[in-house]
Every structure is written in C-alpha cells, then in structure tokens.
Symmetry: C3
Subunit: 242 residues, 3 copies
Amino acid sequence: MKGALATRAPAEPVIDLGHDVEPQAVDEAAFLLASAFPHFPPRTVFACVVDPGVGSAREIAVLEAAGRTFVAPDNGLLGLVVERLGAQEGRAFLAGREWYSGASATFHGRDVFAPIAARLAAGALRAEEVGREVPLAALAPYPAPRPRIEGRRGLGRVVHVDRFGDLVTDIAPPPGRTARRAWLAGREVAQAARTYADVEPGALLVYEGSFGTLEVACRGGSAARALDARRGAEVEVEFEGA
Amino acid sequence: MKGALATRAPAEPVIDLGHDVEPQAVDEAAFLLASAFPHFPPRTVFACVVDPGVGSAREIAVLEAAGRTFVAPDNGLLGLVVERLGAQEGRAFLAGREWYSGASATFHGRDVFAPIAARLAAGALRAEEVGREVPLAALAPYPAPRPRIEGRRGLGRVVHVDRFGDLVTDIAPPPGRTARRAWLAGREVAQAARTYADVEPGALLVYEGSFGTLEVACRGGSAARALDARRGAEVEVEFEGA
Amino acid sequence: MKGALATRAPAEPVIDLGHDVEPQAVDEAAFLLASAFPHFPPRTVFACVVDPGVGSAREIAVLEAAGRTFVAPDNGLLGLVVERLGAQEGRAFLAGREWYSGASATFHGRDVFAPIAARLAAGALRAEEVGREVPLAALAPYPAPRPRIEGRRGLGRVVHVDRFGDLVTDIAPPPGRTARRAWLAGREVAQAARTYADVEPGALLVYEGSFGTLEVACRGGSAARALDARRGAEVEVEFEGA
C-alpha cells in the first residue's frame, strides 16, 4: 500500500494508523478511526482498509467531512465517524465495480483504496469523480451493537485492547458523571480513579481514557491478562454524579 | 537504521517494508521484495537487510534495474528480483571489506547498508563507486528451492505467513490455469475460489493472491492456525484450465 | 501522537523509534535512547514517552544537548543521555502542571509531549519557554542499577531483548578489553566471539554489540528462548586483555 501511495502522491507524508487492529475487526477499526481523526490535520486523507468482504459486491465509500477525506470499503468502517459528525455537514459518495478492473481479488488496499486516496491527496482526483453522491445515511452503519445508558448504568463492550493490556470500552460517561464501579462478564473488577497513579500497583481501575470512553486497566500490569478478557467482552458500569 | 538514513538523506521519505519477515529468513524477504518492488516508484532505493552472515566474508551487492536501486548483502536476497527481471537490463556491483571499517561487527544495516543506500538516494554516491561491476548472474542466487510445475501439478512451499494467517505459496499458476485443489503436507486442504467471499465463513480456500502466487486462507479466520502450518511447509496444487 | 505531531509540525519528518520497548520499561527505553540518539541528525527533536506515572505529579523535562532536543517525562528516561554527555554542555528545563490543562489524564504522549515536541521542532516554541532552567543533575536519574566493573569482572543486567532474541546487556567492556566468558544467573552460557559467523550454528556467543555493550546471542536462533532469559536477568562477564 505504501508503494501505491508513494507512486501516486510522492510529496504527501504517510502516517500508519491502526496496525494494531485485529484482523477483520471492522468495529474496532471504526472505533479507533472515529477517536483518532480529530487529532489529524485538516486536509488529511484517510485510506481505511479493514475489509473482510474484499472481492464481494461491497462498494467503495468516500466521505468528506470536518475538513478531512475518508476512503474505505462501505462496510460500516466509517459508521462512527458519521455518528460523531452529528449535525455537522459532510458529503458522501459511493462507487462500485468500475474501480475493480485490473485489481487483485484480495488486496484492494493496494490496488483500489490506496490509489484513490493518493490521487485525492495529490489533487489529481475529486471525490465526486469517484462515485455518485449519496446521503450520509446511505453509508453502511457501524456493524456492531452500540452502548446503552440506562439511568445510572452504562452497558457496552470492550472494543479495543491496547498494547499495555488496557481494556478500552465504548461507554462514554454522560456529561457530569463519572464511573464508580465496573463489572466485566458480571464480575466487579475495578475501582474508579482518574489515572493510574491514583491506585496501588497491581490494582485494577476504571477511568475515562484518552478515547473519551471508559477503560479498565491494571496499574503497572495488564488488565487483559489479569482478567483474562478480550475484545468483545461485555462491560457494565455504574455512574455517580449529577 | 532510520537515524543513519535521516543523517545522510534528510530530504528523502523513508518507507518501512517488511518488518514482518521472520528473523534470518532470506528466502522470505527475497520473495516479498520481488513481489513488492514494482509497486514502488522509479528511483526508489531499497535498503535490504536480512543478514544471517553479518560479520562474515559475504560482500555487498548493489543492483540497478527497472529504474530502482537495491542495496543488500550478497546472500541471495536479490535473487528473485534478478529472476523477475528476466531479459530486462540491469547492472550489478559487488563490494567488500573496504566498507566495513569502523562498522560494528553485527549491525551492518545501520553502519553499512543504510549509509550506502542513503547516499545513493541523495545523489552523493553512484553505484559504480560502491564496488566493481559484475554480471547479474554473479550475484548470489535465491537460497531456497524454487517451485516446479509438472503437467497439471504445481509443487512448492509456503514462503510467507501474513498477519491474517494466510499461507502464501511460491506457486504461480501458469497462464490460463487456475488452482482446483491444494494439498498441504499431503492432505487436501482447500477448495478453489477467486476470493474469500466465494466460500462459507470458516472454509479454507486456495486462490491467486496479491503476490501473483497461490495462497491458502480461511475465510474470517487463520489458515495457519486451522492447519497448524508454518513457513516452509510443502504445498501441492492441481490446476485446471488450458 | 502522530496526528498531534502532524497538526503542529506538518513539514517535519517523523521517525518511530522504540516501538519494541516493553510497556512501562523506563530503564529499557533510557538505554535504547542513549544508544540511538547519536545516529540521528543534529536538530532532531526526540519526543520520548514511557510514562508509568502519567497523571501523577511528575514534571516535564526538556534537554538540549549534543545539538538535539529531548522532551520526556522527568522519570529517568533521559538519565543515560545525560550520563553519556559527560562533560559536554547541555541545558535542562523542567515544567509542570501548567501544561496539563485540557489534557487527558492518561495520554500525555498525545496531549502534552507530542505538542511540545512538534512546536519545538517547528520553531514555534523555545525550550526556555517550556519551563524553568535547572542544572542537568536536577533531572531524574536513571531508575535502575548501573553495571559495575570489578577487576576482570563485569556485573550487569539484560536491558533489552531484541526481535532476534539477542540478550543486550548494559556492560560496556573497558578500553582494550574483550569478554572471555559470560554467566547468566550464575550459569556459564557463552563463548566469546566477534560476530555470529565466528561460532557454529546453534552455539551461544558473547560479543560487543551495536549498542557498544556486550550481548549474548545464539547463531541462527534465539538466545532468549535457548536460555529462557528475560529483560532484567543478571549477567556476569570475565574480561581478557590489557
């Protein structure tokens, strides 16, 4: 993919984002992308490829929003970016098989998405030339359950396990509220804290992490190992505060 | 290595290629390099270092071909690039101990290959200044068996296992032919398909992959895990078609 | 972090250094940093973040030395850079909570260190504007024991295990001396050699590695696996020579 990018947009810097997404995990990639994109400069073009359906009939999605451009398979990978935009304006485009001719059947990242993204970044192609404009709601939605807030309870899932073994959930505390307790698979696991330094070494804590959602971590260790927990595990949280 | 490159060629973008090569696997690196280089822009300089013989008498190879430049230990790492060039023109150079003075005995990537590659990329050194010109055939050959086509059978090996657990073989289907069945270690393992979406979730398939050779994969899973297979495993394929 | 860098210093190339540091291992990162920095060009700004105490009261350290600039939590991460500088001149600065407002409690890499480093690199901030100047000795020292040389013996630790399974120690041979024998956890493990090619395949060797310290490796294999050894293991070496 980096060769395909360098060939068509030699002057554009390339940043690797998300090499720690698990294979085929569209929901994990969608979460990380929606969390990360605001930290990148305007005019960034995101070439997003987690694509279990490569070679099938799924289309190519291009989204222009918040000053950035996203190119991805239309499989829900952009679902949380769209959700996060809320009422902000954006334009969406879908394109299909016309871009697949000459491409390998299994590596559209290299043969389709990187070339489109590079040409968009280099100004050699415009989004409206990639495909037909569609409403934002026409893009495939996020392909996994969304968290729910029920009174003082938040119910969600572990959507990402980072290299420290921190369990990142999709539960964002409502304004003015913080987590008091957390359960993983029905078992109470962690005390609330603001950061690692607030608890003893080896203790498990739940806190609002850098993705803006709650995380369960182990000070100086791996919560994933301590709790034998993986991506997808169900999490319940009790809030306190207004 | 990146520091050594940045010091001598600060204006040249650097792309990491092949950090998932297994330690010491010259054959795997040779295969990935020969598959990848055409996707990189002309004038790319490839600093290639898989070097089990570092510190021994092996020489330094520089190859100019297909508009690109390759710098590598002369241990067969460039063997498949040369093979892929076929009748295309190229120039090869070999150099020796004169480049090792002042270098560490174990990290020629940082101390020898990166500095040469950076200076070639920056225009501060020409290939003919690195060493003596030699025929392409004087470069060390690919250090592992090559696949064989015998009638409707292809016999080869797994040369790379990617992060999805796909088993990439070195068997390229002859023109007009496609794989019908595949055996791994004598056991029939996979049905032919064009892409993952053509088979049921969990099924094993054999298809022509993005390297131009046959791959065995598991839809939505890892063929390496399902078959307990590794790099080096013997693969046999039956073709159909003209 | 890369987004935060690109936003504030879009024209500066970014190099990833040290993604193979173990989580929370300040001593390992300090060792790798002190070994690597001289290979990077002058004017490089190092954004260094291994930060088990994130969210606590630890301060932000900025060090200008040897033509480079280092930004890091003041937890000893710069301890070996300072030690390596010896009598060379340098300027150190410490800053505190004024930089944390608006930052997440757990990801100061993205929210504090990358922004400071990027603005320093882009010339939009000067080190003396980050915090108050302090003597170099005021920076937190390296947080682990340092190796000792006692006559013909060197006593130290494995500070890094590389991807080949080589055991990198912190023992630098005194001038004119080379290792003759090495013990790991009291057991003699390796013969002295200059490089891998000097021993039989599968043999263990001790040699002066590319960090300038002694390493224990296994030719064509992994010393870490062969010896079941990890980072932190105690190492003893007998020297020969003047």
